[in-house]
């Protein structure tokens, strides 16, 4: 690693700064490059795309968009469905995981250790494994073809819980909760008004991850949602890639991918303020 090159302050810092800039610029290029290629490809027609990659944009951007818009796929309702599911998933996952983590972190009860280990065990079950049982279940509950089975299970998100728990271990002292109790704050109020705000950076991080995870999820939604008007964007993209020969158009596929990435970027930029803006935990440390 580069950071062991500096033995003294001064000249060493200068060298390290240069190294880090070079690395950061290289990495940024690698990260942004894909968006550039997506943009280039969404400006090209199907036959231009099949001729291979070029680094320069073409002129079919508007045409691809019009084709997509005038096609049979309900992209607007797809966008709304995706947004609704992803926002609710992220909200439920972060709020209730914080609550669960708080239960384990702040209280002492008989089943505490058992619950913690138990939730960690759950985390190890791959989703693909239980999906068939899951489908049978929602069929029996008559929740097939509905967004509910895609949203509600987020309340039990072991990985989010685990992160919240670890974050609390390193940043949330129990003395603060004691202080709140002495001030006469109820347990539920303490959680909502003191703990949740303190967990903001962790919540923002997990909100982004849950949102993106839900937004890009294809596997389960494709098995649950059947009506075109209920489908999310990744399913519609798969449907577009499956179009018959007369309509098969990679230009449309690429512009649809670009279209579906747009809202995630916005949500990310909004939430990333909490992560990159240097939010410090003044409340805890003060």
């Amino acid at each position: 690693m580069a950071n062991n090159t500096s033995n003294s302050q001064g000249g060493g810092v200068h060298a390290r700064r240069i190294v880090s800039y070079i690395v950061l610029i290289l990495i940024s290029f690698l990260c942004l490059f894909w968006f550039y290629v997506l943009f280039i490809n969404s400006t090209r027609s199907n036959s231009e795309l099949s001729a291979g990659f070029t680094p320069f944009p073409s002129v079919h951007l508007i045409e691809n968009w019009t084709n997509l818009k005038n096609g049979t796929l309900p992209i607007v309702s797809g966008m709304i469905n995706s947004l609704l599911i992803a926002v609710l998933t992220a909200t439920l996952a972060t709020y209730f995981s914080t609550m669960t983590a708080y239960a384990i972190h702040a209280y002492d009860f008989k089943l505490k250790k058992f619950m913690f280990t138990f939730i960690l065990m759950i985390m190890m079950i791959p989703t693909q494994v239980t999906v068939l049982g899951f489908l049978q279940l929602i069929d029996k509950m008559h929740l097939d073809n509905s967004a509910i089975p895609l949203i509600i299970p987020a309340i039990a998100s072991p990985a989010v819980f685990f992160y919240m728990k670890q974050y609390m271990d390193s940043t949330l002292p129990l003395s603060l909760i004691e202080a709140a109790r002495i001030d006469g704050s109820g347990e539920f109020r303490t959680f909502n008004q003191i703990v949740v705000p303190l967990m903001k950076p962790a919540i923002a991080v997990q909100a982004i991850f849950s949102f993106v995870g839900s937004w890009n999820n294809y596997f389960t939604p494709a098995l649950v949602l059947h009506d075109d008007t209920k489908k999310t964007l990744p399913i519609l993209i798969a449907q577009l890639r499956n179009a018959d020969w007369l309509k098969f158009d990679m230009g449309q596929v690429y512009i649809m991918i670009a279209f579906s990435i747009f809202p995630v970027i916005i949500v990310y930029l909004i939430l990333s303020r909490y992560i990159v803006g240097g939010v410090t935990l003044g409340g805890v440390k003060g």
């Binding site: 690693m1 950071n3 500096s6 302050q9 810092v13 880090s20 690395v23 950061l24 940024s28 990260c31 894909w34 968006f35 290629v37 997506l38 291979g52 990659f53 209730f96 995981s97 669960t100 239960a103 384990i104 209280y107 002492d108 009860f109 960690l120 759950i122 190890m124 791959p126 693909q128 239980t130 068939l132 049982g133 049978q136 279940l137 089975p149 309340i155 039990a156 990985a159 685990f162 992160y163 974050y167 271990d169 390193s170 940043t171 347990e187 539920f188 950076p201 982004i208 993106v212 294809y218 990744p234 798969a238 579906s260 990435i261 970027i265 990333s272 992560i275 990159v276 935990l281 440390k285």
Partner: protein
């Protein structure tokens, strides 16, 4: 006495706060899970539209998996691709995290860099794989670049060699997830009291010493989280190699992961074999996670 009863009174809230998780878990995860394990003792699949079984077969499905001997190979593939991607990923993340939090470095444009690193994760794995295909095709830009530079005499078929396919999978995973890890670590780093860094600097500690003596130990809980979730995520690796190799794991299944193998059995709705495989996977994951957890905890006690 009085104090204890008060504590007990508070502690019932521990149970109350666990209710939502527990209820939802019981309904949406435990029932499917139990049916998965239950199914592993039955012969139960579909051939075309014909349902075969369920017939109780005891441990026959487990025996089948052990005797056909493919499981170790898929486990090995999964671990190789995970390690290949995870090592650069964690090094990069720690490095970036250290740079971003190092007060003596005073990097400019931090907000930009911090924002950019997570962006690849926003692209769907399938779209990402499509782009990789185009770039690494025999007649694609990477090949023509390498030929122009004189690295290769003729086009190198990236998809026909075990090493390059695994390498591409690892690269994609690393690119997609290093930002995620960095964000996790940074959030952990931000949780560290800044006065600790200042005090260390006043005492004349080098950046190196600050990183190893302050940042790393305080970061341990988050690092453990990153390690375990990455490991679990790695064992569940599916979409990237699935899409990149079109579900084949070729050449000769050298990039077929455990979940890709599991997915093969879902085609015939083979609940029996798939259930038994899941139990195996669960055991493997649990053992490995335990090792990581124990290993990191022992270090803490030193």
């Amino acid at each position: 006495m009085n104090k204890k009863s008060k504590v007990v009174r508070y502690n019932k809230w521990g149970y109350i706060f666990l209710i939502p998780f527990t209820v939802i878990f019981l309904i949406f995860q435990l029932i499917p899970l139990v049916s998965t394990i239950y199914n592993s003792f039955f012969e139960n699949y579909r051939s075309g539209l014909t349902q075969i079984g369920p017939n109780f077969v005891g441990l026959a499905n487990y025996a089948t998996i052990i005797t056909n001997g493919d499981l170790p190979m898929y486990f090995k593939n999964t671990m190789i691709m995970w390690v290949l991607g995870f090592i650069p990923q964690i090094i990069l993340s720690l490095l970036l995290g250290a740079w971003f939090t190092d007060p003596s470095l005073r990097l400019k444009g931090q907000t930009f860099f911090k924002t950019v690193i997570y962006l690849p994760n926003l692209i769907m794995a399938s779209a990402f794989a499509m782009l990789f295909f185009t770039l690494f095709a025999d007649s694609g830009p990477i090949n023509s670049l390498l030929i122009q530079l004189g690295v290769f005499k003729e086009a190198f078929s990236f998809m026909d060699h075990a090493a390059s396919v695994r390498g591409l999978v690892a690269t994609m995973n690393c690119l997609m997830w290093f930002g995620n890890t960095t964000i996790l670590l940074m959030a952990g780093m931000l949780g560290i009291d800044p006065s600790l860094f200042e005090a260390a600097q006043v005492d004349g500690a080098t950046a190196n010493q600050i990183f190893y003596k302050i940042t790393l130990p305080l970061l341990r809980p988050i690092l453990v989280f990153v390690m375990i979730t990455s490991l679990i995520g790695g064992l569940q690796m599916f979409d990237v190699p699935q899409i990149l190799t079109n579900g084949t794991g070729n050449p000769m299944r050298s990039s077929m992961t455990l979940i890709m193998y599991l997915n093969k059995h879902l085609y015939s709705k083979n609940f029996g074999l798939a259930g038994a495989l899941s139990v195996f996977m669960f055991v493997i994951t649990a053992i490995l996670s335990l090792i990581v957890y124990k290993f990191t905890n022992v270090q803490e006690q030193k």
